[in-house]
Symmetry: C2
Subunit: 231 residues, 2 copies
DNA sequence: CGGATCGTTGACAGGTATCAATGCTGGTGG
DNA sequence: CCACCAGCATTGATACCTGTCAACGATCCG
């Protein structure tokens, strides 16, 4: 182990212990002892909208904890179009599938300004071998993957387009910590809901006209009752 | 611990060690020592088509390894209809989400004659605490959940109905160990693909007329090239 | 034989994809 | 500062697809 890496690791773990949202992220349950096992550096990353965090075919070396912002997980289809299979937000873990010694299953792309912690897989492996504290948090993340995927399948891919958009808006609003929330591009909405960009645009425009949806500088606002009535 | 439970546990673990498909199921990596930690009985269950393995609101006490057959995981929607979010087959683990101290996320219902091993959650928890051998297999199952969910989202909910049915048939054929495979009811196909029963029926009937699909007593057969061309 | 269940088919209205054109807005370079 | 451009968003027209409601056929079983 080179000295400078050890130093960075130490700095990283120091920061993790002082992390403002520590209770939400992967290392919530770790003890002082555990942090000393982090021999590889944890790095902060800031992403702008459109930045790619990783690609499917890339060598998997890191998992990523999302501290703020939003990431889309994307699968490209043979015909060149794409489908968004999940949205990740604060506290979510991107690249969890690589802990099984396999490749990334998606491309991960930022939708907003997004802050990330980049955690080397080696750290996770070491912690798993020498301490029991990470296991619970990891299982919780796997659980969330399943639960999100099921919600997606059961709620966002059924019914007509109006219903799906209404459900998506309700989902985004519910996920947000404030009243305002981030409204994706029409193309991304289409990729989320398996509808075309044009249809997404038409329905959003209609919701705006009906005042079910308002777009302000801080983000979007919805009339939840009206939208629930549609879905 | 009551003596008869201990006895049953011993019987159960004996059987696990001799299991014909052991390399496929959850206990693949377990050692002799580990099996001695199974203090609760593992029970074989045989299900007929339509039998319910567990329900969403049921108290979670067991996970289930599937030895043969097919199980659908079902979510009921507020309007009374349902959606199939995953199909489980040999080697898959049903109820994995309960290992996180939460409820079952679905109803699990057999589609065919199905053989199951019912494993008490306590066994899993104990093994996890005292031996490292289960961890890898569990992670592999979580991984498969994610990977299947993503395939579902990316391939079975996009494109028109003909494309979706073609993809479903290709998926079912690929999963099967023989050339023949199990063809679900039209209603289940609809619930799998987010289309109506009638549309599923129309397209299956058309595929039959075109000889892309043949139904024999052993199961269904498809013309993979023709169906790939559609999808 | 009658009834239940599932599959198939028809008719039609409504929804959505597709192709195409037109706004709108923010940024860039002259 | 302004004209221009690129990238989205919106809207229109139309053909096609799919949901809906309804009827009929096939098969199994008591």
């Amino acid at each position: 182990m080179e000295p400078d890496l050890v130093n960075k690791a130490w700095n990283g773990s120091e920061k993790c212990q002082r992390c403002r949202i520590r209770e939400l992220v992967l290392f919530a349950d770790l003890q002082q002892d555990d942090f000393e096992q982090l021999h590889h550096p944890i790095v902060d990353i800031e992403l702008a909208p459109g930045d790619t965090l990783y690609k499917e075919q890339q060598k998997p070396e890191f998992v990523f904890t999302i501290r703020s912002g939003m990431i889309k997980l994307v699968r490209y289809l043979p015909n060149g179009s794409y489908r968004i299979v999940r949205l990740l937000q604060q506290g979510d873990l991107a690249g969890i599938e690589t802990l099984n010694n396999t490749a990334y299953l998606h491309h991960a792309i930022a939708l907003q300004d997004t802050s990330i912690c980049r955690i080397p897989i080696e750290n996770i492996d070491q912690l798993n071998q020498h301490s029991p504290h990470l296991y619970k948090q990891l299982t919780a993340r796997w659980h969330r993957v399943q639960s999100d995927a099921d919600i997606w399948l059961a709620e966002l891919t059924v019914g007509n387009s109006k219903k799906r958009i209404a459900n998506l808006l309700l989902y985004l609003a519910q996920q947000s910590s404030t009243e305002h929330f981030f409204l994706p591009h029409r193309e991304d909405m289409g990729a989320l809901l398996a509808i075309t960009t044009e249809t997404a645009s038409r329905i959003i425009a209609e919701f705006k006209r009906l005042k079910y949806l308002q777009v302000e500088s801080q983000g979007a606002l919805i009339d939840k009752d009206k939208l629930k009535h549609i879905s």
